[in-house]
């Protein structure tokens, strides 16, 4: 038994890392699902009258999917680095991984909400006035970048030692 674990390598150290990996993908997927569903209702309502615009209006759905990929990347990075405490996984690393997971998770949740609401209104508006499309894309990119900020912070936290 590994009874000589110090207080820097406690047995509950990996719990924080595992929670970080889980929260990274859970909250990102929650935001992405909200974004997909909300903009999906907009697309469904819009394409009854203007079915030729579907190709343009899938873009909010694609961008919501990208939010989930951010969370997936961080979850894979963290999951590949979790080890048992007696092989050198410190409590500090667990905290870093929890912070990285929460950073990308909640940023993804926020970005997914923004993409969903903007996608819904933007798609409905684009059906009435096609020149709104450029504005919708710009607003969607600014919403998407919020998730990217979380990813950058998460990668910085992940690389700390």
């Amino acid at each position: 038994m590994s009874s000589e674990l110090t207080e820097t390598n406690p047995v509950y150290g990996p719990f924080f890392g595992v929670m970080g990996a889980a929260s990274a993908i859970i909250f990102s997927a929650l935001g992405a699902a909200y974004g997909t569903a909300k903009s999906g209702t907009g697309i469904a309502a819009m394409s009854v009258m203007r079915p030729e615009l579907i190709m343009k209006c899938i873009i909010p759905v694609v961008m919501a999917g990208i939010i989930a990929i951010y969370g997936l990347v961080i979850a894979i990075l963290i999951a590949g680095n979790i080890a048992s405490p007696d092989s050198g996984y410190t409590l500090y690393k667990g905290f870093l991984h929890l912070g990285a997971g929460l950073a990308v998770g909640f940023s993804g949740l926020a970005a997914g909400f923004a993409i969903g609401i903007v996608g819904d209104a933007g798609v409905r508006g684009t059906a009435q006035q096609p020149r709104l499309f450029v504005g919708m894309i710009l607003i969607l990119i600014f919403a998407e970048v919020l998730g990217l900020y979380g990813l950058i912070v998460a990668i910085f936290l992940y690389t700390k030692n």
């Binding site: 030729e52 615009l53 579907i54 190709m55 343009k56 899938i58 873009i59 694609v62 961008m63 999917g65 990208i66 990929i69 951010y70 990347v73 961080i74 894979i76 990075l77 590949g80 680095n81 096609p130 499309f133 894309i137 990217l148 990813l151 990668i155 992940y158 690389t159």
Partner: protein, 85 residues
């Protein structure tokens, strides 16, 4: 009559598959073949650079889709054939 709709479906499907698959493929290919195989970088550094590269590839794919949708989507609609009677 069904042809344009099927073409749009094929285009969207191809771009969606590309956007979903390209970052995952880029991550694992660059991590195991390039950074760890060729350059011999440590695990953490190769992880980080592969992740950065995967995100860059993802945004290139997204940009290609937006460009395609923007330039291709607003083609002037062909006038419906006049009814003959």
């Amino acid at each position: 009559m069904e042809q344009p709709q099927f073409t749009v479906f094929k285009t969207v499907l191809a771009y969606s598959a590309f956007i979903l698959a390209s970052p995952v493929i880029a991550f694992f290919v660059t991590k195991f073949l390039f950074f760890e195989g060729l350059l011999g970088i440590s695990s953490t550094a190769s992880n980080v650079w592969s992740a950065v590269l995967a995100v860059v590839v993802l945004h290139i794919a997204l940009g290609m889709y937006i460009y395609r949708a923007y330039s291709d989507g607003d083609k002037p609609k062909t006038k419906p054939t006049d009814k003959v009677d």
